[in-house]
């Protein structure tokens, strides 16, 4: 299986009293194989989440993240129409990214 498309949803959550936050849920199509598997080591290494062009979360991950990784992140505040971008790079230098507006 090769790396493939991504899916993402970004919505406003929380409440005005307790505080509003932006919930980002992103799916990455990726085999995430370990060195023990017959496909050999192939995994996402770096993930960057950007809010209106500014990095807000930067992650490094290992081959122990499940195949076709799904992550949820939460950003402080936010408004409808904010641009959220998530990108990844794997250990073979392959990469992908997706952008969506907060609904």
């Amino acid at each position: 299986m090769a790396a493939g498309p991504m899916k993402m949803r970004a919505t406003l959550a929380g409440s005005n009293t307790a505080g509003v936050y932006t919930e980002v849920r992103v799916l990455m199509t990726h085999p995430m194989t370990t060195a023990q598997m017959k496909e050999g080591l192939h995994h996402i290494r770096n993930i960057v989440v950007k809010q209106n062009g500014k990095p807000v979360v930067e992650a490094e991950i290992s081959q122990a993240v499940s195949r076709n990784p799904v992550f949820s992140f939460r950003l402080k505040g936010g408004a409808k129409g904010d641009k959220i971008e998530v990108s990844w790079v794997d250990n073979k230098g392959e990469s992908n990214s997706i952008e969506t507006a907060v609904a």
Binding site: A64, S72, K76
Partner: protein
Amino acid sequence: MTRRSLLAFLGLLLAKPLSVLAAWNEQAFGAKTAADALKTLGAASPAPSNDIVIEAPQIAENGAVVPIEISSNIPGTTSIAVLIEKNPFPLTGRFDFKADALPFVKLNVKMGETSDVRVVAEAGGKHYSASREIKVTIGGCGG
């Protein structure tokens, strides 16, 4: 092509992959024990904390996909590291939260066997830790 332009061209070729490939802590991710990984991350002896919340199933039937939700209520949390103590390479992820992000992450991980899952949060240059055991019926690292 002049020698200078050739050098500039080679420089461009070299610079590109470096800018695309972000940093990845090979030493910490290659550590075979959680203690070694934490030492490499500069978090050798984190203080136990009840302000790190780990939501996960008590029993995971399928070790290939174990959902874990983590949040830190420690003020000023800037990063969270996730370690699965009994996996061959315990360090599974390290998440850096900038000022505009909440110290929260939800992810799915692979677990080879029943293990403690340790979460280490960094706040104000100090490290805090919490852990939780997840029992695994069928391991998820083979295949």
